[in-house]
C-alpha cells in the first residue's frame, strides 16, 4: 500500500508499532502498526469489537499498552499519562459525550484550555493582575470558539439542556480549545439524525481545511467515505487493510470482515 502523492506532508504525526493491549485474556489490540501523516482525516473503521475505541484509549494514555510503542511527532508517548499527552497536543472526544455537567457550556470550553494556561493556586486565591489578564484571555478565546461552533448564544446554559448534536459540538470545541495538533473523534455522529450528521460532517471538513489532523472512528460509512483521506481497517484488533477510501471499498478482506463470513 503506497501513499498517494495527493497527501501533504511526509512526516509521521502519529505512529504505532506492534501495539498490543489485553483485557482480561482477550486481545483487544493485536500487534497493530500504522502511521498517520498530518493535515488529513484518517478514519479507523471495522466491525464492532475490532478495537477502535481501545486504540483511541491507548493513544490518549487511558489504557497503557502491554507491548508496542506509540509515537507522536517522533516522541514516545505510550507510557505517558493522559494529561501529559493532552499537553503535547492530542485531544479527543468520547463515544458518549463526556461533558462536565456541573458547569456551564462556556466553562466546559474554558477547562479545555487548561494545558495552555498557567495560573496556579496562588493565582487563583489572590487574583493578581497577571492572572486576571489570563482569565480574560481564556474567556474571550472560549467565547470565540463557541461562536465558531454555533454555541455562543447558549454559553451560560448547562450542558444537560443541550441537544445531543449540540453536546457533541461542545465536546469537540472543548477539545479544540487546546489547539491540538491531533484531534481524535470517537463516533461523533452516533445518535444524530441525517441533518445533524451532515452538519457535523461539514464541520469536520472545515476543521481539516484549517489544517487540523483528525483521526476519526466511525460506523457511519457514508460520512466516512465523504470526509476521509485515508482508511485503516481493523478486525479483531489487527489491521487488515489500509488505503484510500475508494480502494478499501473494493478490498475483499475488508468486505468479508464486515459481512462476517
Amino acid at each position: 500500500m503506497m501513499r498517494g502523492a495527493a497527501l501533504q506532508g511526509d512526516q509521521k504525526i502519529l505512529e504505532t508499532r506492534g501495539l498490543t493491549l489485553r483485557f482480561g485474556g482477550v486481545e483487544a489490540l493485536n500487534g497493530l502498526s500504522f502511521f498517520i501523516t498530518p493535515h488529513q482525516i484518517a478514519s479507523i473503521i471495522g466491525p464492532n469489537g475490532a478495537g477502535k475505541t481501545t486504540l483511541l484509549n491507548a493513544i490518549t494514555g487511558v489504557y497503557p499498552p502491554h507491548t508496542g510503542e506509540i509515537f507522536f511527532r517522533g516522541t514516545l508517548i505510550s507510557r505517558l499519562k493522559p494529561f501529559q499527552i493532552a499537553a503535547l497536543g492530542i485531544n479527543r472526544t468520547f463515544q458518549q459525550a463526556q461533558l462536565f455537567s456541573n458547569m456551564s457550556v462556556l466553562e466546559n470550553v474554558m477547562v479545555g484550555m487548561h494545558p495552555r494556561t498557567e495560573a496556579g493556586f496562588l493565582g487563583g486565591v489572590f487574583h493578581p493582575p497577571g492572572e486576571r489578564k489570563e482569565e480574560k484571555k481564556i474567556r474571550e478565546k472560549a467565547e470565540s470558539l463557541l461562536d465558531l461552533f454555533g454555541l455562543l448564544p447558549k454559553a451560560d446554559w448547562m450542558p444537560g439542556h443541550l441537544s445531543i448534536a449540540e453536546q457533541k459540538r461542545l465536546e469537540i470545541s472543548r477539545a479544540m480549545a487546546n489547539e491540538p495538533e491531533l484531534l481524535l473523534l470517537d463516533e461523533p455522529v452516533a445518535g444524530l439524525n441525517i441533518r445533524e450528521t451532515e452538519a457535523l460532517g461539514d464541520l469536520i471538513i472545515r476543521l481539516k481545511e484549517r489544517g487540523q489532523t483528525i483521526i476519526l472512528v466511525e460506523h457511519n460509512m457514508h460520512l466516512v467515505m465523504e470526509v476521509s483521506d485515508w482508511l485503516i481497517v481493523l478486525h479483531h484488533g489487527s489491521k487488515i487493510g489500509e488505503g484510500r477510501p475508494e480502494e478499501m471499498q473494493k478490498d475483499s478482506r475488508v468486505v468479508e470482515a464486515y459481512l462476517g463470513t
Binding site: 493522559p82 461533558l99 477539545a175
Partner: protein, 328 residues
Amino acid sequence: MGKKNKIYLLIYALAIFTLPAILQNNYHLMVLNIAALNIVVVIGLNLLMGYAGQISLGHAAFFGLGAYLSAIFTTTYGFPLWPTMIMAMVFTGIIANAIGIPTLKLEGHYLVMATLGFNVIVYIVMVQLDAVTGGPSGFAGIPRLQIGNFAFDSDRRVYYLLWAVSIVVLFLSLNLIHSRVGRAMAALSHNEIAAKCAGVDTESYKVKIFVISAVLASLAGSLYAHYITFISPGTFSFFYSIQVVTMILVGGMGSLWGSAFGAILLTILPEVLHAVKEYNVLIYGLILMVVLVFFPRGLFPGIAEAFGKRRREVLSDSRKQLALEKRA
C-alpha cells in the same frame, strides 16, 4: 467571583461584625467563635469533597495536629505564638502530603477508611504520648491569643479576630473556585477521565487540595488551642471528623456558602439541645441519615429546589389564568 458573591460577602461580613453589639451573653459569643473555626475547617473540607470529589473522615486529626503542635511548642518550649502556628500548618501540610499521595489513589470507601484509620492513629498517639501531650486529661495553660501587647482576653475580642480569619478564608476560597484551578477541580470531581484527557493532572490536584484542607484545619486547631487555652484528645476524635462532614452534607457539597451555614447551624444546634446532651450522639446520627436519605445533595439545596418548584408552578398557573381571561 462575580458581583453576586461579592455582595453576599459584604452583607455577611456586616451582619457578623454588628452581631456582638446585640449579643450580650458571652456564652453566645463563645458558641459563635467555635462556629467561626468550624467554618474554616469545613471550607477546606468542602474544597476537598465538593470540588475535588474526595472524601475524608480524618480531618479531626489535622485539626488536632494544629492544636497540639501549637499548644506544646508555645507552652512547654516557649516558642512565639504566631510563628509556631505557621510552623504547625507547614508541618501538617507535609504530613498531609505524605499520606495524601498513596491515600488519594484509593477510591471511594477505601479512601474513607484510610482517612478514618489515620484519624484513629493520631488520636491514640495523642492519648498515649502523655508525657508530651498530657494524655487523656488534656493539656492546659496554653497562652492566649495576642498581637504585640494587645491580648485577646475576652470572648468579644476573640470574636472579631476569629471571624475576620473565617471571612478571609471564605473570601479566598471563593476566589479559588472561580479560577483556572477551581474549574480544573470541578471538572475532576465530576468526570475524572474527561478531565485527564483535557489535560488536568488530577492526581496532583487531589493531593494539593488535600494538603490545603489539612492546613486550614490545622490553622483552626491552633486558633482553638490558644482561644480555649485547654485541649484534650476527646475534641479530636473521629466523631468531630463526622461532625464536619455532616455540616457539609447539610449545607450541600460543593457550595461554600452552604458549608458556612451548615457549620453555624450544626455548631449552635448541640448547644440548643443542651438540656438533652445525652441525645447529642443520637440526634447527630439521625440528622445524618435523614439528610442523606432524603436530601443527598444537601439540605439547603434540597429546600431551595422545593421552593423553586413551587414558584414555577405558581407562575405557570397565573399564566394559564391570564390566558383564560383573555379568551373570555
